[in-house]
């Protein structure tokens, strides 16, 4: 009897907590079926400074892991998008729209990602989205975006499947595994003249995808693959480094993220590896230099491929880096710039669709507009082909000249490769 009383009371407490927490947004929410018609009254408190009459609220969602072990990159995505919204949202605000960010935490798990996707889809204010970090979350979640016609721009997912399903709503501002890898391989084989390569990846969809394609390309070229390893280890690479040093390949290709790779590079160099390190766009972070130190500049040095031009070549990128650090207190992690660009795509598309529709656009209109967007972003020129890929991805091959964080800007472009998207499949 007492227990039941408790259960009921606890339920009431939960309910009232939820009321307190969510009363405000619930009150301003409009019914689903006619967003445009009922928006106006809710917007009475729109700031006068935005000028013009109030046209309604537009939200742009982000989904990425904000908590847990992968939050480093997930938060970078959110922050990149947030900065873009702040800096570039002016045009839409000028048109009378209140533009807001709705950051969702997918916890790097598909369950939460899909649930959030359905939640996002059910919020009529959300017209576009930026995310995810993990392909494993993006792929199932994008099924929901697809059915709801909600455009999503991915700043990080390089798994081919993301776009090869041919969904009109799914786009990405990054290359694909099967694009980046051959570019890197060609550089290793042709420019560096490597004879043997040791391939290692981080056992994620991203790393393994790139690594597999790299291997494919290497085998086609006759570049000897000494070993092909995946590892989830993040701290102690002794067990891999030891046979690696014994094999002494010309190049070690690491497909993964800098905070794992940096430790690996350092330990491999310390153990006596003299050859060249290569990495993917996951290496594009100044922290890499702090972690790996002079392992990057000694021996055969280090090269990485990236779609984002270095600060030296792109003044906009330098500006972005300093703005980012000013706002968030730390330099941008990988994918922050891509998220900035993704948000930029969303904003431009919504703006174009709103202008075309003469009012609040539908999701369909926004999704169609996304495919029309062209822009010169932080990470190069962006446009989308008919499946949402960059039609040609431009890859910069950078040579690392930094042994500390502050020198990261000294990295130089040694090669630029243009690779066309392979489209739907072979």
């Amino acid at each position: 009897m007492n227990k039941r009383l408790f259960a009921l009371l606890s339920l009431l407490v939960v309910a009232s907590m939820a009321l307190a927490a969510c009363g405000a947004p619930a009150a301003t929410e409009a019914p689903a079926e006619a967003p445009a018609a009922t928006e106006a009254p809710a917007m009475t408190e729109a700031p006068a400074s935005s000028g013009g009459e109030s046209m309604g609220t537009i939200k742009i969602a982000t989904q990425s892991p904000l908590s847990g072990g992968q939050s480093l990159l997930g938060v970078a995505i959110k922050n990149g998008a947030e900065l873009a919204l702040e800096q570039l949202g002016g045009d839409l605000r000028g048109m009378g729209y209140d533009v807001q960010l709705a950051p969702y935490d997918d916890q790097a798990t598909p369950d939460v990602g899909v649930a959030n996707a359905k939640n996002i889809v059910a919020d009529p204010d959300i017209l576009c989205g930026v995310g995810h970090l993990n392909s494993g979350v993006m792929i199932p979640s994008s099924e929901e975006y697809h059915t709801a016609n909600l455009a999503f721009v991915s700043p990080a997912n390089t798994n081919p499947v993301v776009t090869t399903r041919g969904y009109a709503e799914v786009n990405r501002v990054v290359g694909r595994d099967d694009v980046q890898a051959p570019a890197a391989e060609s550089f290793a084989f042709n420019t560096l003249g490597a004879k043997s390569v040791y391939i290692i990846h981080d056992k994620t969809a991203y790393g393994q995808g790139v690594a597999e394609f790299f291997r494919g390309a290497a085998e086609a070229d006759g570049l000897t693959v000494v070993a092909f390893e995946g590892t989830e280890e993040t701290a102690n690479f002794d067990a891999i480094v030891t046979p690696l040093v014994a094999a002494q390949p010309d190049v070690v290709f690491f497909a993964g993220i800098y905070n794992q790779a940096g430790v690996f590079f350092k330990q491999a160099r310390d153990a006596g590896f003299e050859g060249t390190f290569m990495g993917t766009d996951g290496m594009d972070a100044s922290d890499l230099a702090d972690i790996a130190g002079d392992a990057l500049t000694t021996g055969g040095g280090m090269y990485y491929t990236t779609v984002a031009g270095p600060a030296s070549a792109y003044p906009a990128a330098a500006q972005f880096a300093s703005d980012f650090e000013a706002k968030f207190g730390a330099p941008p992690e990988p994918f922050a710039a891509q998220a900035y660009d993704s948000m930029h795509v969303c904003l431009l598309a919504i703006q174009a669709a709103a202008e075309a529709a003469g009012g609040m656009p539908t999701r369909q209109q926004v999704a169609e507009a996304v495919r029309q967007v062209t822009l010169d972003g932080l990470t190069g020129s962006i446009a989308f082909d008919d499946i949402g890929d960059l039609p040609t991805a431009q890859y910069f091959i950078l040579k690392v000249n930094a042994a500390t964080k502050d020198d990261w800007g000294k990295n130089e472009i040694v090669d630029i490769l243009e690779v066309a998207s392979p489209g739907m499949g072979e």
């Binding site: 092909f228 390893e229 102690n236 002794d238 067990a239 030891t242 046979p243 040093v245 014994a246 153990a271």
Partner: protein, 377 residues
């Protein structure tokens, strides 16, 4: 003979060191022999190079790698096993205590770098200070965690403190992240570069083509852990408090009848376990060079496995378990790829470790050195 056994120098110094040497050499030797044997068997499978030669080429290095990480596992495992010994529950948040130790250590070094004294200070002094600070903070944290999250649950069904520990583990991860984010804006903590730890001692061995290369860092890790283990051995076996800890672990109600303040002893146990974890954290950080609030999880899991492998609740068992697990990992990760011609690789090392664990437990259900009568009355 009896005289020697009772001699404190032997009892608290020579014996434990001897034990450690026997364990590490024994385990290494057994695994090395098996590996070389396997190399002969698989020789015909590999055509690119001479398998036996390659095996022998890297063997010393693999053993050193295994021992280095094995000692770290042992030190963390001791924290699990001590708490298990007195409270019979798995302190899930120990991996976070360990992580905090590592981060505190790195932050201290980063602070020295920041105020510009790092390069002028004696490098070993820096490490010593970092370890001491980490031990203090991790130990204090462990005691606090016990007071807040476990003590109120004493006497509850055994799964209840386990869940509380899991909750504490979540909490600590994000709490550390919160603090790091607020102070540094990010949560990767990177070891500043100083000293000569990355360098190698090269020892030429006449019978071998390649010289033996031992990284100074590895030597420090092994040296400090052995020192800690000997110290712990003295603490537990040679002092009154240590005896009280053992008494509480063996029979809590009897211990209280001896006038032992059981709560105080439990706190001290957490303090020691936490301090060991903190020290292990700093050593691990030396190797890993980068930590984040989530990097405690995997080493913690491994150390926990090591504790069980050795027989949870048994201090010597934790030492042996850690060494065996570290060596197994190093061997399987280094050789699986070579032996199977790339069909299996380092990624199977965890499967290997767990398979061995299961095999050991099937034949010795209470671990390598555990009591055969598993349950306490």
């Amino acid at each position: 003979m009896k005289q020697i056994a009772e001699n404190p120098v032997y009892k608290f110094f020579l014996f434990p060191i001897g034990q450690i040497i026997v364990f590490s050499l024994g385990a290494s030797l057994v695994l090395s022999l098996i590996t070389v044997l396997l190399a002969y068997i698989f020789k015909f499978n590999v055509t690119d190079f001479d398998l036996v030669e390659r095996t022998l080429l890297i063997l010393p290095q693999v053993v050193i790698n295994g021992l280095t990480i094995g000692f770290v596992y042992s030190t963390i495992a001791l924290g699990y096993t001590m708490v298990y010994g007195v409270l019979e529950f798995i302190n899930f948040s120990h991996s976070e205590i360990f992580m905090v130790g590592g981060i505190v250590g790195i932050q201290l070094m980063a602070y020295f770098e920041h105020i510009g004294v790092l390069s002028t200070m004696n490098e070993y002094l820096v490490i010593g200070l970092a370890i001491i600070l980490a031990m203090a903070i991790s130990g204090g944290l462990a005691v606090t965690v016990e007071r807040v999250a476990y003590k109120p649950l004493r006497g509850a069904p055994r799964l209840v403190p386990l869940i509380s520990a899991i909750g504490m583990s979540f909490f600590l991860q994000d709490f550390v992240r919160l603090i790091l984010s607020l102070t540094t804006g990010e949560f990767n903590v990177i070891l500043p570069k100083f000293g000569t730890f990355d360098e190698f001692w090269v020892i030429a061995i006449p019978a071998m083509a390649n010289p033996l290369r031992i990284q100074i860092k590895s030597a420090i890790m092994v040296g400090v852990t052995i020192f800690m283990l000997v110290l712990l051995n003295f603490l537990v076996n040679g002092t009154k408090v240590g005896k009280a800890i053992r008494a509480v672990a063996q029979d809590r109600s009897s211990a209280s009848l001896m006038g032992i303040n059981v709560n105080q002893i439990i706190s001290i146990t957490f303090l020691i376990g936490g301090a060991l974890g903190g020290a292990a954290g700093v050593l691990f950080a030396l190797k890993a060079t980068k930590l984040d609030p989530f990097s405690g999880f995997f080493p913690g899991l491994k150390a926990f496995t090591a504790a069980v492998l050795g027989g949870i609740g048994n201090l010597t068992g934790a030492l042996l378990g850690g060494l065996v697990l570290g060596l197994l990992e190093a061997f399987s990760a280094s050789y699986l790829g070579i032996f199977t011609n790339g069909a299996f690789g380092a990624e199977y090392k965890d499967i290997f470790a767990f398979a061995i664990l299961i095999a050991v437990l099937i034949f010795r259900p209470s671990g390598l050195l555990g009591e055969t009568v598993g349950q306490k009355a």
